[in-house]
Every structure is written in C-alpha cells, then in structure tokens.
C-alpha cells in the first residue's frame, strides 16, 4: 500500500519541485526589493560546485558542504550586489544574466578544478548517504515494505520538505517585518524610500545577497540530489526557468514563486504524452498567461479571495463581517 503510493518517480518529481521552490523564492526575494536578477543560475552553480568539490575532495559531510556552498554563493552575492546597485531595471537584468554566463564559462574553462564540460560525477548522493547511515544503524527498507530507492527518495523528499517549510516561514515573517517593509518601499519608489530614512544600499544588497544565498543553497542541494553536475546545468536556460517560476506563479507574493515552481516542474511531466509538442505548448502557455493574467497566477487579490473562501467554509456560523472602507 505504502509501497504503491511512494512511487520513486513521483518522489523524484516532488524533490525537484522542492529544489525549484527554493530557486523560485530566491528570485522572489531579490524582486521584492525591486531588483530583477537573472544571475541566480550562476549563484546556483557556485553553490553546487562549492559543495560538490568540498564533499568529493575533502570528504566534508554533505550538510557542511551545502551550508558552505550557500555561504560562498552569498559572498558572491555581496560582491556582485554592491556594484549592481548602480544598475536598475533591464540593465540589472542583463548584467546579472551576463554574470551567470561568465560563471558558466569559468566552470567550462577552469578544467583543473571543475573538469570543464565533463562535469563532476561521483558527487555524494544525499539520499544514498542518508540511506547508508540509517542502514548502518540497523534499519532495513523491508521493515516498511519498501524498496531501496523508495527509501532513498523518501528521505530526500522529507528533508527537502522540512527545509522548505522553514524557508517559507522565515521569509513570510521577514516580509511582514520592518525589513520586508523596507524592501517593498524600495521596490515602489527608491528615492522616496531613501527620504524616509531607509538605507537603500544596505537593504538592496541584503535582498540581493539573500537571493544569491538561497540560489546557492538550492544549487548545493541539487548537486547532491543529482550526484552529477556540469556547467550546462547552470546556463541561460536555467536562468530563464527560474524567472518563469516567479513570473508565472506571480511575482508579488511569495506564494506565487512557490506555486510557479511547482506548476512549472509538473507541467513538462504532464505534457509528456504529447512530448513532441511539449515545448511549443510551453511557449504558448507563457504568451497566453501574460496576455490574460500578467501579474501571474497568484496575486494579492487572489490570496484575499482564497482566505475569504477558507474563512467562509470554516466559519459560516461566526458570520463573515469584514469591514470595508472604500
């Protein structure tokens, strides 16, 4: 029963959804202070390579590797974020896209370390390492009537879900606080925000760095879920994919990025039956989306509506007296 439910295929997709959600949040965070960064694929690569190299060559435990990967990406975030302050709008977008490309080219050319296009194989696999640990402690998959790869992916997924819940909680709280308000103010009017005493340099670099850190974190996790990385994983297409998560799902609210990441990961699978036309359909969906719902699927009013629906369902007996001023 459990064995049927836990199809590794589905677990695998769910894990990718979780990683993509982190990427979605990473671009959302920078966007929330009004900066469009297309460099997150590059930061993701930095995180992935850092963690992979550390775990391969120095036998650093995966957890430490992932954390260091995220930190290194974060440091790059600061280094790029500061000069990027001078840019805005599309200029920033293209410059960060360019940063991503430069990073990829470095991965390709720095062969002595990165193995170039051949990529790094034999990256310790998160699930398999965990599996080794638990079996060493005497756990047998048969005890739950599960197969090895089911257990492996189940553990990966569980870990990723926990991480995601924490991150979403973290950023929702941040958003509701003084820091989140400063981001939003900068996004809406930088000059006015500055006049209100907001240190725009600090907050812009902060949000840029948070985005980079998250992207690096997702990249490091990616490396240990795929067990193999190559420069092509962090190229233009990835940057665009991450952007689409947020814009398709809705770039105003964190839930948009989450929904977008989940939906856009499932979509190619759902369209597998018509795989020949898959990408064409993908393109058409993007065009239609923008024409009919340019703010993305999930926006503030959608969330309000959703809340109302839930309240309505739950509490018809309390009445739904919501005051309206306008």
């Amino acid at each position: 029963m459990l064995a049927e439910l836990l199809n590794p295929y589905h677990l695998q997709i769910a894990s990718f959804i979780m990683i993509n959600i982190i990427l979605g949040i990473s671009i959302y965070i920078t966007l929330s202070s009004g900066q469009l960064s297309l460099g997150n694929a590059g930061f993701m690569g930095i995180g992935a390579y850092t963690s992979a190299l550390l775990t391969i060559h120095f036998e650093v435990p995966i957890i430490i590797g992932v954390i260091l990967g995220a930190l290194v990406a974060g440091i790059f975030g600061i280094l790029i974020g500061i000069p990027a302050l001078r840019l805005s709008g599309v200029y920033l977008a293209i410059a960060t896209l360019g940063f991503g490309e430069v990073i990829r080219v470095i991965f390709v050319n720095w062969e002595s370390v990165t193995q170039g296009a051949v990529g790094l194989s034999g990256v310790p696999h998160l699930g398999r390492e965990l599996f080794k640990t638990v079996t060493a402690m005497g756990f047998e998959p048969e005890m739950l009537g599960l197969r090895n790869n089911q257990v492996v992916y189940l553990m990966v997924l569980t870990l990723l879900v926990v991480i995601n819940i924490f991150l979403v909680w973290f950023f929702i709280r941040q958003n509701k606080s003084r820091v989140g308000r400063a981001f939003a103010a900068i996004k809406m009017d930088e000059k006015a925000a500055e006049s209100m005493g907001i240190n725009i340099t600090y907050y812009k670099v902060l949000s840029f760095t948070q985005g980079a850190l998250l992207a690096g974190f997702a990249g490091a996790l990616y490396a240990h879920v795929m067990a193999y990385i190559s420069p092509a994983d962090f190229a233009y297409h990835r940057a665009i994919e991450i952007l689409i998560f947020s814009v398709f799902g809705g770039s105003e609210v964190i839930w948009g990025a989450i929904f977008g990441a989940a939906f856009m990961t499932i979509l190619p699978e759902a369209l597998r039956v018509i795989s020949e036309y898959r990408y064409m359909i993908y393109g058409v969906i993007l065009i239609l989306m923008m024409a009919f719902r340019p703010q993305g699927i999930i926006d503030v009013s959608f969330l309000k509506w959703l809340k109302k629906m839930i309240k309505f369902r739950r509490g018809t007996d309390h009445g739904t007296g919501t005051k309206k001023h306008n």
Partner: protein, 294 residues
C-alpha cells in the same frame, strides 16, 4: 594574420550590429527587450535557405521573402504577445519580457519541428565570390555585410533624430498617452517599429547564413544573447551605440581568439558589459538622465 583577423572581426561585428539594431529599435520605442528577436533572425535565415537552396531561386528573392516573412512575424509578435499587455493595469514590466520569451521558445521549437535540428547549408554562388589580395581572401559577402550594416545604421539614426516619424517614435517611447494626445497614432507607430525591427532581423539572418554557411534552429539564442549585450554596451535604444557596440564586440571576440584563449570568447561580451556598466551605468552612448527628487 592581424589583417585577416580584423576582417573577421568586422564581419562578425557588423552582423552583431544589425541584430542589435533590431533589439535597440524595439527597446527604444516600447522599453521592452524583445527576447524573440534572435528567433526571428533565425527564421529569416531559414527562409533564405528555403528560397535559394531548396527552391533554387535567386538571392534577391530570398531577401524579399525573408523580409516579408519576418515582417509578418513581427506583426504577429506585436499583436499576440505585446499589444494585449499594453496599457493594462497591474502589468509588471517583466510581463513583455516573459511573453517574448514564450514566443522565442515557440519559434525555436516550431522551426526545429519543421526543419529538423541539424545545420542547413546555405549554398549560394554569390557567397562564393571572393577577392584575393596577397594571401588574404575577402568574400564579397563580407563587404556586403559591412556596407549594409553601416547603411542601416545611418538610415535609422537619420530617421529617428531628424524626421517627424522618428520624433513621433521617440514620443511614443516615452509616454504612450502623451504621444497620442499630441496626435501620434501610437498603435501604428509601435506596430511599424516592431515590423521594421523584425525585418532587420530577417536581413541579418540571411547575411549570417551566407557568411558562415550554417543555419540551425539554435542560432537565434546565442545571437540573441550577444545582441542583448551589445545594446547594453552601446546604451539602450541608441542606434549609433548599437553599431559601435556590435563592432566592438565582434573585434573583441575575434582578438581574444587570435591572441588569447578562445575558451573565453563567449564571456567577452558579458565581462565587457559588466565592466562598462560599472563605469557608465547608462552604456557607452546612453544619456544620463538622473532624476531629481521632485
């Protein structure tokens, strides 16, 4: 070798410049980066292949056909992917970026579906005509590309800065509502611009096909990225900047191969723009319009 490499660089740069002109025109008027421009360029190249290699018709027919097809594509792009977003409330400035990415994905896969994934040769006797100067071979196509790019740049910059239509275009670029109040038919202005930009892409497509004898569905992407880099380099919406940026990049790429490490060729474009943006955030030729706290 230096001379030959210079010729290589100028040829490549001129092509970059024509592609960038299309980008810059659309950006200048709509403030939009048309991510589908590279793919329109690619379709132009394919039309060239179809007309000359498959149908065996003369080159000028290919040019006309490519211009016609890409112009129609431009029209459709405007109607389907851009116009519905315009003037709508709550549309983020990212929306057109995404919808043109949608178009680019669609076009790339469509052409892949129709023409297959491989390279198509662009065999044309005109492309074979060459001049021999000492040990250096120059192809007429190379000269043609250079001349066309310069001519296009001159025509466009004259058109934009001196003619009434050009002014209308700039007014439209700045503020749709105001322009229409001043009597500009903004819808037509925009459509015309996107069509012209697309046709420029078509021309560039054929020229690339001839110069390098290679046409494939993926060529749009790398050319598109370079085009982006160039308009940043030259200053967005600046015609002369696009030309200068194109030539600069073509030469820089060639020279890094000739005297440096060809592995970093693709990075040159972006390293340059990162450096330039840090020194001059508005690009080499962009105007600095610092905003006051009003």
């Amino acid at each position: 070798m230096l001379l030959e490499q210079l010729i290589n660089g100028i040829t490549l740069g001129s092509i970059y410049a024509i592609v960038a002109l299309g980008f810059t025109l659309v950006f200048g008027v709509l403030g939009i980066i048309n991510m589908a421009h590279g793919e329109i360029f690619m379709i132009g190249a394919f039309i060239g292949v179809l007309v000359t290699s498959v149908l065996g018709l003369p080159l000028w027919v290919a040019f006309i056909a490519a211009i016609a097809v890409t112009a129609i594509l431009g029209y459709m792009l405007e109607r389907i992917a851009l116009r519905p977003l315009r003037g709508k409330q709550g549309v983020s400035h990212l929306a057109p970026l995404i919808s043109t990415i949608g178009v680019s994905i669609l076009l790339e896969n469509l052409s892949h579906h129709i023409f297959g994934a491989g390279n198509h040769p662009f065999q044309n006797s005109f492309a074979e005509i060459q001049i021999q100067i000492g040990s250096i071979t120059i192809y007429i196509v190379q000269i043609l590309i250079f001349v066309i790019s310069i001519a296009l740049m001159l025509i466009l910059s004259y058109w934009l800065s001196k003619t009434k239509a050009g002014k209308a275009l700039r007014a439209t670029a700045e503020n749709l509502e105001t322009a229409s109040l001043l009597g500009v038919n903004t819808k037509r202005t925009i459509t015309t611009t996107v069509i012209i930009a697309s046709a420029l892409g078509g021309i560039a497509g054929i020229l690339v096909g001839m110069a390098f004898n290679s046409v494939n569905p993926q060529m749009g992407l790398s050319m598109g990225l370079k085009g982006l880099a160039i308009i940043i380099l030259g200053g967005m919406g600046n015609v002369k900047g696009a030309m200068a940026g194109g030539l600069l990049l073509g030469l820089a790429e060639t020279m890094i191969v000739a005297y440096g490490d060809s592995g970093y060729r693709d990075a040159v474009a972006f390293i340059t723009i990162i450096v330039i943006l840090l020194v001059r955030p508005q690009g080499l030729f962009g105007k600095n319009t610092s905003e006051a706290g009003r």
